[in-house]
Symmetry: none
Subunit: 198 residues, 4 copies
DNA sequence: GATGAATGAGTCTTCATTCAT
DNA sequence: CATGAATGAAGACTCATTCAT
């Protein structure tokens, strides 16, 4: 799958996941660079070589984290939307699913944000983001075609949605500890009707 | 003040600014950690000692960049709003000023985003952000009191505004190269009236 | 004897030999140090434990390679010379046998050459070389006693013979792919009569 | 020149040379791989970073050693031959110059020999060797054309000369400590007239 | 006999920082 | 003020070797 091509025993898979999880925590809290491989293996309580048994490099591990997170969020949104046909409702459900997912993966946000700041990680990040963008754009186009929302460049609107969703997750859910469902309400209301309401 | 306490000749100030500017570029493009002090002084064409003549450390330089940027953005917004009394108009003008400022300082966004991902820089970042938040909250409270916008937690609304503004600046103005004024229009419309418009 | 003291089943002997052969190839092509134990077992398609079942260490394996090669070359020369009494002819036949042997074991040359460059392997190398030297010296002494060749330190002459033989094997037979018999002719002619001939 | 492109002060040049010399000693005695960068800088009594101030890597330093040695030997031979026109005499003088040069640089031989055993260093080695070969070939061709030596492939003869010269330098001069001039006599006599003499 | 996993000392290399000149 | 040189701690990574299963 996303491994370095080794066939792993169940015990091996567990170890690998332990390392992945621990690395995520550390990266999120302290930062990618300030977290050394020694920190990661130390936290799991294994020798240094173990890290390189499961991963090619610190960088590859990070890249894998990135890809997996983006994949997982999207899968979650997909599943949530699956049974809905109305484009505006799909959009809303997708947004709510995103808030829920972010609430369950607070550390990931830091990793994504960091990835955007370094040349070497931007391409990997961009890829996943353009997928998310594409999903939103699809719904927006339909909604515009149906006259349900005011005309506008769907890509721009999609960026607006993603920006709002991400920032509120970070600031209100993660930082302030607000209930993600409530914040999702706020986001949806604001996005659909604006500050002045209807 | 913003220096490490040395009195600088005009030439010295220039040197210092050169280093500051070059560091900003590099940090923004490559990342803070991947940019070495050697890179910075090399780009300016001076010896390594010069760097430590003007700055205490790489970290202190970064911190200064952060503080100065936040201060400058706020000053810009303040000046723009100064002659306006209507709270909703102040909000709008502030937003437009922000887009304009960001358009002129595309690199800064990366630095701020990075600062949020490392323990050691978060406090410095938070400080400036809470000021920006406070400004927006003030206007929002007034507007709510006047019944101009629907009731809601002004702090939450402020976060929404900042999130939207930042993300659109990054994605549309910086990345896509859109005209900041136009994107500001979009942001204001969206924030005030929502996707469904009035 | 030449093993690490284990009694091996036929299958075991084969495995052992596979490892020995593969290691020889890799050492010769890439070098001793750049070739890891993982490379060796990987090439044979077995687990790492197997290596340490048959050999005490990477170093011991290399030492064994060295000893075995020198032993085998000498055996070959001995057999070739066996039925000849004339010292000059014995010398010539020995030289030709050497060219033939080297032609069949091109990789060994690299190993011997490498062994000479590291403190830890020099003693093992020297041992075999002094044997080869002794053999040649014996014939040369006889030939000198019989007045068949000009007087001179037989040891020096032996070194000259070995140096020439080795270098021509390497450069002409191995590198250029020349026929070893023809190169042996050249070597013998040159050694016996010199560049100016008779 | 052969540096990593830094402009060095006199003191810098000296440091660099110290490192070069010390590395040569260690490489020759212990081997390239068993000699760590820490060993090299430790022997000179400087910090580890100094090494990387003057060289890009351990490998690059080795490569430079190789190139410089080959260049220097050739220069020496060139100078020795300069005033001589007779091809056979040029050959002889070149051989004698080689013995003298090797006598003064006993460590180099090990480095060259080692370089031949590792894939990554072979190209660099080959380059210099083909130059040496070409020089000898030139003289041999002339000598053959003049009928001074028996006909034969000059390249093969050149290899024979180089092989003999190198081996005798190593075994008799370096190892046994013989006088290089005397060994050169031996080599020249042997090469020109063979074991059986004239 | 064999394997995959683990160990940890050791390697090369980088880099913020200092300092003599 | 400025420079080139030096420092040395710290980092990523490798690899011979061991061992539980």
């Amino acid at each position: 799958m996303t491994t370095n091509g080794r066939k792993l025993t169940p015990r091996g898979k567990e170890r690998r996941q332990q390392l992945l999880d621990h690395a995520t925590q550390r990266f999120a809290e302290t930062g990618y660079h300030p977290t050394s491989v020694a920190d990661i293996v130390g936290g799991v309580g294994v020798g240094k070589g173990v890290f390189y048994w499961y991963f090619d490099s610190k960088e590859q591990l990070f890249l894998e984290l990135l890809a997996e997170a983006q994949r997982d969020l999207r899968r979650t949104q997909r599943d949530a939307i699956a049974s809905e046909d109305d484009p505006l409702r799909r959009l809303e459900i997708g947004i709510r699913a995103a808030f829920r997912w972010w609430a369950g993966h607070p550390e990931i946000m830091n990793l994504l944000q960091f990835a955007a700041t370094e040349k070497q990680f931007r391409p990997a990040l961009r890829q996943g983001q353009s997928v998310a963008l594409g999903d939103a754009v699809t719904h927006l186009k339909e909604a515009i075609a149906e006259g349900r929302i005011t005309d506008g460049d769907p890509e721009e609107l999609a960026h607006a949605i993603i920006g709002l969703t991400g920032h509120l997750s970070r600031e209100l859910v993660h930082r302030r500890g607000d209930d993600p469902e409530r914040v999702a309400d706020l986001a949806v209301t604001l996005l659909f009707d604006g500050l002045r309401g209807r």
